[in-house]
Point group: C2
Chain length 236, copies 2
């Protein structure tokens, strides 16, 4: 018997991955696998679920990303050290996760940046300060020339995230940034119309962080996000 071969779309691929994750969850429950227990081998799962080993590996890697499984070379894949109930709950949540919409990204960005500005004011090193100054100058230079400075604007904000000294928030900022940029044409934070006021706002934030004034830093950041803020909380 010959297997029918075809190229799968990303959606189809994601669907079979979801089904595999569901089956892994069911297996963990049916076999009463506890933290530390070993999952069946990738080959076994591949046969049992009637999918390729590559699909199994991808599903396992996804669950590894969320900290639910751990693969050890030449040994096996193991259930992470969280209980069965949390395991079930988290897998269900992961399966239900929707792609982020733009509004959700913006809302999260504002939340993160109000905090990173505050934290940066408290923790910034002199090195952080130099990096922020550099990004600020690059931004101002471009704006004065009348050129588009969206990228430089962005890098200034990322420099603040770095200066916050919180690696998790820094990572999250990096994750959401591309999605923000992609939709930026619709909702500019620093539109060319407002670019010159943007320079002053950036300077205000920078000065507050330089002077280690967390309250003012947050306030200046909030002012900087005024337009986005309105988009988020006044519109629908």
């Amino acid at each position: 018997m010959t297997m029918k071969l075809e190229i799968l779309t990303k959606n189809e691929n994601r669907d079979i991955q979801k089904k595999i994750i569901e089956k892994i969850r069911d297996l963990i429950n049916y076999k009463n696998l506890e933290p530390g227990d070993k999952l069946p081998s990738e080959r076994t799962l591949s046969e049992k679920f009637e999918v390729s080993r590559g699909n199994i590996r991808e599903a396992i890697q996804k669950l590894e990303f969320y900290g639910l499984l751990e693969s050890i070379p030449q040994s096996g894949t193991f259930v992470a050290n969280i209980g069965v109930i949390a395991m079930n709950g988290m897998i269900d949540d992961i399966l239900r996760l929707e792609d982020p919409d733009f509004k959700s990204l913006v809302e999260t960005r504002i939340l993160l940046e109000l905090k990173t500005a505050r934290l940066a004011a408290l923790r910034r090193t002199n090195e952080d300060l130099e990096a922020m100054k550099e990004a600020l100058d690059a931004y101002a230079t471009k704006v004065v020339k009348g050129e588009d400075a969206v990228q430089e604007d962005l890098l200034f904000h990322l420099a603040i995230a770095k200066a916050s000294g919180n690696s998790t928030m820094n990572t999250f900022m990096l994750i959401i940034t591309p999605g923000i940029i992609t939709n930026f044409e619709k909702y500019h934070v620093c539109d060319s119309n407002q670019a010159f006021s943007g320079i002053q706002e950036h300077k205000d934030i920078y000065e507050a962080i330089k002077n280690q004034d967390p309250k003012l830093a947050k306030q200046m950041m909030k002012a900087h996000f005024k337009i986005l803020y309105q988009y988020c909380y006044n519109q629908k």
Copy 2:
């Protein structure tokens, strides 16, 4: 000539991935690749960088995750629609990313949960409310029995994240949760000593969200996190 084969540790693997990402960045700069331009094929890069095609694929997938590249089947890998400057800045940030420490995780969790509680109060559907009630009851039942209820506690918080209607924050909560659990033995949020007060606190949060009182929901969540909060902001 025979190639020496050996199993690489995850650290070694991460190092060569970093080097590949650096080389991709340098290539984009040297060739002046702009948004939409096509990267050399995986095979070409594999030869040029003298690494396996699998390593190249992994590096590309990582940059895809951060939205910097896009692979299209049977066509090629393309530079995303963000400028060269942002591309350089973001790649540098990605290369410098540190593994999150526990304190960074907790700090981010508190930030996220104060917000999701508020948003849940504003947006929760009746369905969300039922899910939260279910998680709350499961938690209370276990505590009354005197059993460990860390998992149920956690699922209640995740139910709130879901009710917030913000898919990005929901995802981020899922990402940080396993790390939180793993280190939970050190710093319990709902320690068995405080489990009974934990029930009341959970009920307070639930009631505030049920009554659509965002301010109170945030306040109750803050009270619930009092101990963690102190750990974060009073201790070094």
